[in-house]
């Protein structure tokens, strides 16, 4: 069961019209290291991992990632809101506009649709936790690139928040992983 709160986890302000930035950002919506992949990855790992800390952490981080997904959606929506078809076309979003209008689609920046293959689930606690830590670090790296791709300081501020969250998540996953490794004879 989930309950929705009608607010963002952290404010999203856009000061500057920038259609190309929307195209870059959409990879964090439906790309391999995006927030949808993160949330669904953790959500589905909960059932078999057994360790009590790991189950709680996967549940709580999966939930937080949905709030991040909503922040990314808000950024993309606001950046596309007033763009003309011509502006979308010149940012490389011509085919996107023809197929989807301004609807938000779970794709990466090149329009490749989301796939559950991104979740890379292995049915093994150690392998899955390494995957989770790598996923957080890859998302952090993407946010660092995204921050470089805009000079809108308000947008950079929201992206910096998301980058910092990846670091916190990575740290918590590491704590669980290290404990599980200590308890496992290898």
């Amino acid at each position: 069961m989930w309950i929705y709160e009608k607010r963002l986890q952290y404010p999203v302000c856009i000061n500057k019209k920038d259609v190309t930035m929307a195209r870059y950002l959409i990879t964090q919506y439906g790309g391999p290291d995006g927030e949808l992949a993160a949330s669904l990855r953790y959500m589905t790992q909960r059932y078999t991992i057994e360790d009590r800390s790991a189950i709680a952490l996967l549940t709580d981080i999966a939930t937080e990632e949905l709030a991040h997904l909503e922040m990314i959606a808000t950024m993309v929506y606001k950046l596309l809101e007033d763009a003309t078809p011509k502006e979308l076309e010149s940012a490389g979003l011509g085919t996107y506009f023809v197929d989807h209008g301004r609807d938000l689609v779970y794709t990466n920046g090149d329009g490749i649709p989301f796939t559950s293959a991104y979740l890379a689930s292995k049915g093994d606690p150690i392998a899955n936790l390494y995957e989770d830590i790598a996923a957080e670090e890859k998302a952090r790296a993407v946010y660092e690139k995204l921050i470089l791709m805009t000079d809108d300081t308000a947008l950079q501020d929201s992206l910096r928040f998301l980058r910092e969250r990846e670091i916190i998540h990575s740290q918590r996953f590491r704590e669980v992983l290290e404990r599980l490794k200590d308890n496992t004879t290898r």
Binding site: Y4, Q9, P11
Partner: protein, 84 residues
């Protein structure tokens, strides 16, 4: 949206963030009593903020705002992507 509601939502965001951080920390450090006590205080404060927002007529949660605001605030107050 009115200034008062926006200010309460801003407080909710900041206090809510501290709750998330405490929750994740306690997931991996369940015996850390100091953080547990801090979390309880943060949650108490969050409940007060929920109540003030409700008194302003803003419906924050889809299923847990009791009683739901008698106005149609859920439908007509702005959604997150309509703000800012």
């Amino acid at each position: 949206m009115e200034e008062t509601k926006l200010r309460i939502i801003d407080h909710l965001q900041k206090n809510g963030q501290a709750i998330i951080d405490a929750r994740l920390w306690l997931d991996t450090h369940p015996n850390h009593l100091k953080v547990l006590q801090e979390a309880q205080e943060l949650v108490r404060r969050q409940r007060l903020l929920y109540r003030s927002l409700q008194q302003e007529g803003f419906t924050l949660q889809n299923f847990s705002d009791h009683p739901p605001s008698t106005t149609s605030s859920w439908l007509f107050d702005p959604w997150p992507w309509e703000m800012g």
